[in-house]
């Protein structure tokens, strides 16, 4: 097996009950969010909009801390939704996943390479 054949391992970030979960990308790696899933089945009987923020926080070379909002997604409660990212989201710092609404379980898969 060649080193090029080794596939990056996905890291799962789970965010529940309106919380924020953070995954820090190691400094010698690049991160790619390749899957976002929102499970709102725990909100039985309710219908609501959940705003999902994916933030990439990092410090540029010679600069101060920066936060870049990369994705905001609105969803309806009561279902499991796979968010189509079309292309993996590129992450260079600490990726923070935050759900604006208490209840839904939100998870994402991050590839580090």
């Amino acid at each position: 097996m060649r080193i090029d054949d080794i596939k990056p391992r996905p890291f799962r970030v789970v965010c529940a009950s309106g919380d924020t979960s953070v995954l820090t990308v190691p400094t010698d790696m690049l991160g790619y969010i390749n899957d976002l899933e929102i499970d709102t089945r725990t909100l039985s009987g309710k219908t609501s909009t959940v705003t999902l923020d994916v933030r990439d926080t990092y410090t540029p070379q010679g600069g101060s801390s920066t936060t870049a909002v990369r994705k905001t997604i609105g969803v309806l409660a009561g279902d499991v939704i796979d968010v189509d990212l079309r292309a993996p989201l590129h992450v260079i710092g600490a990726v923070a996943l935050r759900s604006s609404y208490s209840g839904p379980v939100v998870s994402m898969s991050v590839l580090l390479e």
Binding site: I3, D4, T27, D28, M29, L30, Y58, T59, P60, Q61, G62, G63, T66, A68, R70, H90, I92, G93, E113
Partner: protein
Amino acid sequence: MAIELLAEMPSLLKERHIVHFGEGWPDTFKNKFFRVARPQQIEYTATYIITADDTFDLDFDKPSGGGVDGTYKSLLPVSSSTLYEILIGFKGLPVVYPRYNNSYFGKLEVANVLPDTTDDRLKYLGFYSQLQSPFCSPKLREYTVVEQQPPQLRLFNNMPNDERLVIRFVVNRCKVEKVDERNLNPAEKERARELQYHTVFTW
């Protein structure tokens, strides 16, 4: 040495290999043959986050206080009996322009046909990226000795978002011994690896 792009990941210098330094190198090395006595391979990775549409310059020299900092990577040897053979690979979207003495190395002969990160017609001239020299199989090679003009790299992020560039330096630190040319047979001279200083590419 002038930075060079190779078709494949090159093999590193090994014990007993002979190198010849051409014109332009510091006097200790210029026009002389050296034999590799002891090679040692050292991995060295540097990471940069470059803001959108911006550049960052790094230098192979050492910072004034020693060690390393963001700009100065200390990739020149200290001993006059050491040769660094350095492979350079990239991971990330920014591109890299080699420079010497604060001038771009990859330029064509007509006046002003040289890299310009502010000009769409010239920003993709004389650069390298992860496509040419990937992190896992670097194909860019540079040689350095003590007291030479330090190579420089200008990193350019042409993307709308800030981007990270991870640079892998594979440093083959070689202890070298001077060899009297008269003690080399023609075959050894023929096989010696020719190291060309960047100034010979200015003509």
